[in-house]
């Protein structure tokens, strides 16, 4: 059901999201849960995995998040935000509960090389660039890492990020701007 190509392509921000996947409020309201799942599963998993940093736990939390969303699908209120923000809020709560339960932060599990990962520029230095970004991401604290994941892995808008984190949209934008600058500086230093 989940297309790997789709899974990879939906894990970026709006600039690179496929046009057909871009969301509109009208389509969200009429969308079935299965369609929502198909559209968001890779991004939810990526976001959850970035929080819990353990593959098995990420799978459990992701499954739990979708099950909770399925059970509570009738409680969604469009006036309180988009369906994606609602779903990522559920995933975030499940992930934080998992982190609290474990009482420890798992070290980031080394992700296996994804054979379907796109080669951005087709040059040999792409591996070096990825290593630089990965090292820069490791320098971020948990909250900064979360907001980066919500923006660039989950592909949420600033308003949706604000809804997930329970903060104002301007505050979310400010935090995101500072984090991106910090991430860029870290990348530049390593480059």
């Amino acid at each position: 059901m989940t297309d790997p190509a789709t899974a990879r392509s939906t894990g970026v921000n709006e600039a690179i999201v496929e046009p057909g996947v871009a969301l509109g409020a009208t389509t969200e309201e009429a969308e079935s849960f299965e369609a929502l799942y198909r559209r968001t599963f890779p991004r939810v998993y990526a976001y959850v995995a970035s929080l819990v940093r353990e593959r098995a736990a990420a799978e459990d939390v992701t499954a739990l998040a979708f099950e909770r969303a399925y059970r509570k699908r009738n409680r969604f209120r469009p006036a309180r935000g988009t369906r994606e923000a609602w779903l990522f809020g559920i995933a975030r709560n499940a992930a934080l509960d998992e982190l609290r339960k474990r009482k420890r932060r798992a070290s980031l599990e080394a992700e296996p090389e994804d054979p379907a990962a796109p080669d951005f520029d087709g040059h040999a230095d792409s591996a070096l660039r990825r290593a630089t970004v990965r090292a820069a991401l490791a320098q971020l604290d948990a909250r900064e890492h979360e907001i980066v994941a919500l923006k660039f892995m989950a592909g949420l808008s600033n308003a949706e990020i604000a809804g997930v984190l329970g903060i104002s949209e301007s505050n979310a934008g400010t935090k995101l701007h500072r984090t991106v600058n910090k991430l860029r500086e870290a990348c530049d230093e390593r480059a």
């Binding site: 059901m1 989940t2 790997p4 899974a7 990879r8 894990g11 970026v12 921000n13 600039a15 690179i16 299965e34 799942y37 599963f41 890779p42 991004r43 998993y45 990526a46 995995a49 970035s50 593959r55 990420a58 799978e59 992701t62 499954a63 979708f66 099950e67 399925y70 059970r71 709560n93 934080l96 509960d97 982190l99 609290r100 339960k101 992700e111 994804d114 379907a116 990962a117 796109p118 951005f120 660039r129 990825r130 630089t132 970004v133 990965r134 991401l137 948990a142 909250r143 979360e146 980066v148 994941a149 660039f152 892995m153 329970g166 991106v180 991430l183 860029r184 990348c187 530049d188 480059a191």
Partner: protein, 406 residues
């Protein structure tokens, strides 16, 4: 590295789900996350048990429950106290209700009574009244009070209605006596509209005079606005014309109650007459003996006996006169009250028809409103406490979750 390149690079770092996991989750989603499998139920039960065991004591929930219990206890105590107070306030069970505000008690000689002189009477009536005063039957009208034997009855609206009670029958029947002496008494309770009370009071005096009687005492009560709200009259009417006088008095207003009573005092009257004759015979005998007395000492002793006998004769004559007047004039107590008061506060038992139904509906609505206000008085603070507890619990839960990121 520009922002676009950075975004692409970060997105490339997004962990990808395992294909097996993705397939399993696809199937679960397609089946709607079924709960019927035994393994799923066991997993769910274990998760719930672990959650319960892991969970800290629900301080917020316990606090909310304690608040609810305290509020309920306070509400129950308030309602209970209110009920007791209401029970004590039942009309007729407390002095306050027996004296509604603004009304002047009719039967109290001191509280709020406005003593009015007896209505103007013709000279003949005044003369008859004067005779009664001389005979010791009447009291000065300045002491305005209802009949000494008056009893108090409570109306349904809590006000008191003075109903003089006829003297209780006492033994005095003299068998074989043809000329019977009957002391008669009657009570009459009249009601009239407020605007007619003054006229009815004047008519009572006029009827009394028409039947050769007199007004022994009267009092009129006035309300806050100075209007007459009621009154009481003590009349003396010739016993032979009592029935006719009562009939005329009854036509002056709405008769609320009417009682008549009689006491046979023939025995006392005959006894006093017999003793008077004996005393007179005794005096005649003493006078004869005094004429024949030969010594001064004997004459002095006879004179002393004559004085005592004369005193006895006077006392018996006075008693006979009193008995004669008491039997010649009937004692009539008339109370006058307003019918408007009944309209303003109808007794529950008198309510009927559409008006009664409307009154009952208004009462029920008022009671329900009162109950709702009292309930809100309990529910609103309770809801505020519950909301505060819920907000605090939510904030605590959120803070605990957020602490996982530190």
């Amino acid at each position: 590295m520009n922002e676009r390149e950075l975004a692409l690079a970060v997105a490339a770092e997004a962990p990808a789900p395992d294909p097996d996991f993705a397939r399993q989750l696809d199937e679960r989603v397609a089946r709607g996350f079924p709960r019927d499998s035994r393994a799923a139920r066991l997993t769910l039960a274990r998760a719930r048990a672990a959650s319960v065991l892991r969970r800290r004591p629900p301080v917020a929930a316990l606090g909310a429950i304690a608040s609810v219990l305290i509020a309920l206890a306070v509400a129950v105590s308030l309602i209970g106290g209110e009920s007791a107070t209401r029970h004590a306030d039942v009309p007729g069970t407390s002095g306050a209700d027996q004296r509604p505000g603004g009304a002047i008690e009719l039967d109290s000689p001191t509280d709020g009574k406005i003593a009015n002189p007896a209505p103007a009477q013709p000279p003949a009536a005044a003369k008859r009244r004067s005779e009664a005063l001389d005979a010791g039957l009447a009291t000065e009208p300045a002491i305005v009070r209802p009949h000494p034997d008056a009893a108090t009855t409570l109306r349904d609206d809590g006000t008191q209605l003075a109903v003089p009670v006829p003297p209780a029958p006492r033994p005095g029947f003299a068998p074989g006596t043809r000329d019977r002496r009957i002391e008669r008494s009657a009570t009459l309770a009249l009601a009239a509209p407020d605007d007619r009370l003054d006229k009815v009071a004047a008519d009572i005096a006029a009827v009394t005079d028409r039947y050769r009687g007199f007004v022994l005492s009267s009092s009129l009560a006035t309300g806050d606005e100075g209007a007459t709200t009621g009154g009481s009259f003590e009349l003396r009417i010739p016993a032979a014309r009592l029935d006719a006088a009562l009939a005329d008095l009854a036509e002056l207003g709405q008769v609320r109650s009417r009682t008549t009573a009689g006491q046979d005092v023939t025995a006392a009257f005959v006894t006093a007459g017999d003793r008077l004759e004996a005393a007179r015979a005794e005096r005649a005998s003493l006078l004869t003996r005094l004429e024949n007395a030969t010594t001064d000492n004997a004459a002095a002793a006879l004179r002393l006996q004559l004085d005592a006998t004369a005193g006895e004769i006077n006392r018996l004559k006075s008693r006979i006169a009193v008995l004669r007047i008491r039997t010649d004039y009937a004692n009539v107590a008339v109370t006058l009250q307003s019918t408007d008061a009944d309209t303003a506060a109808p007794a529950s038992g008198e309510r009927d028809g559409l008006r009664g139904a409307l009154d009952d509906a208004a009462d029920s609505l008022g009671t329900a409103l009162e109950l709702a206000i009292r309930a809100l008085g309990v529910a609103i603070p309770l809801a505020l406490v519950a909301a505060a507890v819920a907000l605090a619990a939510r904030a605590i839960r959120r803070r605990r979750r957020e602490s996982a990121l530190h």
